[in-house]
Assembly symmetry: C2
Homo-oligomer: 225 residues x 2
DNA sequence: TGATTTATGATGCAAATGCAACATGGATAC
DNA sequence: GTATCCATGTTGCATTTGCATCATAAATCA
């Protein structure tokens, strides 16, 4: 399994692990690389898994789908991000979410259950892995709370402004680019797509924002508040 | 600091730590106990903290408040639960949420930053603490995703039914009791309180649910779907 | 106990929003 | 290159929902 060392080094989960140790790590823990085409499901709700997924390239989305086919996007992950770790690390190996490739993606699967519950912890990288994992899950937790801040707002406009404010903070600019198109954005905010498009137009008319495709600019008017 | 040993043993964060080790743990890491009256803020958004909080008794709520005074309840925690750990473990010590006592509560503060970033890991309980923490945060993560499932629903009725279904699963019964009153429930679901009351009445009329105070019963009619 | 605050329930109303349907443009596939 | 699929924008309409307000019940406090 040949994976670019530079890429591996940049993955937060592997922070502090030496280049020379990757061989031992993958040997000890085990690892499997797989490619998924856009639209393919990587995990399906109800599945069991002992492995976490790591996005090597592409983009994946964490979803909840109900029996009516309604879809909620819980997370949108790019390269170096990890998914499924909440279930493996939480000891509840039955997934309650699905993970779908939003683009053609290379995924590295790591049987992290071994690290958590089987490995004796003797390996040098064992503790580093767990420590990195705590940090990552904790960050993800904060992100999920931010998502909740958005979805608990009472109006579409507030939801959108909160979302854009968060992006502005992350990207350090009042002009921000979302990885989500209209369809996905609606499923992320938990609103109807056409209502979203309509409200975006109203917000532009009201001078709150400007936008072009998935790039939005928060206007000064809004920032003053 | 005298704390009931039985209570400590029952706290998931301390799983696997021997009774005899608590002295060393609190001595090494440090700990502080404090009482909060109902309504008092334990943490305020914007605060810095190196400590996590552990609920010894009472009940606390994790909130996001905006400049207009709107409040979103992100979590509702009873005894043995932990809060603030996402920030301490994630290395972002500035809180983006507030924590408020929903009842008179005893809180144990633990400077967990020491465990994560300072202690060399020599103590016997060090690794146990971190391992427990991963598991807890992971579980909380799953819970937050479930909350998102609720708030992304498009109608108040769906939100409420999803919430009740989750409670039913947790409590193993179609008759469930919520820890939240109407005001808090509305702020948890992200809806208007009076609209919630109105919709609850409609759902009862439609034969979907029955309720009395904060105890709800999902009717068979709904379960068949 | 009596007084005051807080939670809950009810309702009118305007506005927001979900939903359905259709047009169009861009992307993808063959 | 052409056909097909999918994302996006638009609009009408019925319904839902937020918001404001008031009445009452319940809880808290003095």
């Amino acid at each position: 399994m040949q994976i670019d060392q530079k890429l591996l080094q940049g993955i937060p989960l592997f922070k502090g692990i030496k280049e020379s140790e990757f061989g031992a790590l993958f040997g000890c823990v085990g690892a499997k690389r797989e490619r998924f085409e856009k639209g393919e499901f990587i995990f399906l709700g109800g599945d069991q898994t002992n492995s976490i997924g790591i996005v090597l390239s592409g983009r994946v989305q964490v979803l909840k789908e109900d029996i009516f086919g309604n879809r909620a996007i819980l997370n949108d992950l790019g390269p170096k991000a990890v998914f499924g770790e909440s279930f493996v690390c939480g000891g509840s190996y039955t997934l309650t979410v699905s993970v779908q490739a939003a683009e053609n993606s290379d995924i590295l699967f790591l049987p992290f259950e071994r690290v958590m519950h089987i490995c004796p912890g003797a390996c040098g990288f064992h503790n580093a892995l767990i420590k990195n994992m705590v940090e990552m899950i904790a960050r993800k937790n904060i992100k999920l709370m931010e998502n909740l801040e958005i979805t608990t707002k009472h109006s579409l406009r507030e939801k959108m402004l909160t979302y854009l404010s968060q992006l502005a903070q992350e990207q350090g600019s009042v002009t921000v680019t979302s990885t989500l198109g209209r369809v996905d954005l609606a499923d992320f905010l938990g609103v109807d797509r056409s209502a979203l498009t309509r409200e975006l137009g109203r917000m532009r008319d009201a001078g709150l924002i400007q936008f072009e495709k998935n790039t939005y600019t928060l206007s000064d008017a809004h920032l003053k508040t």
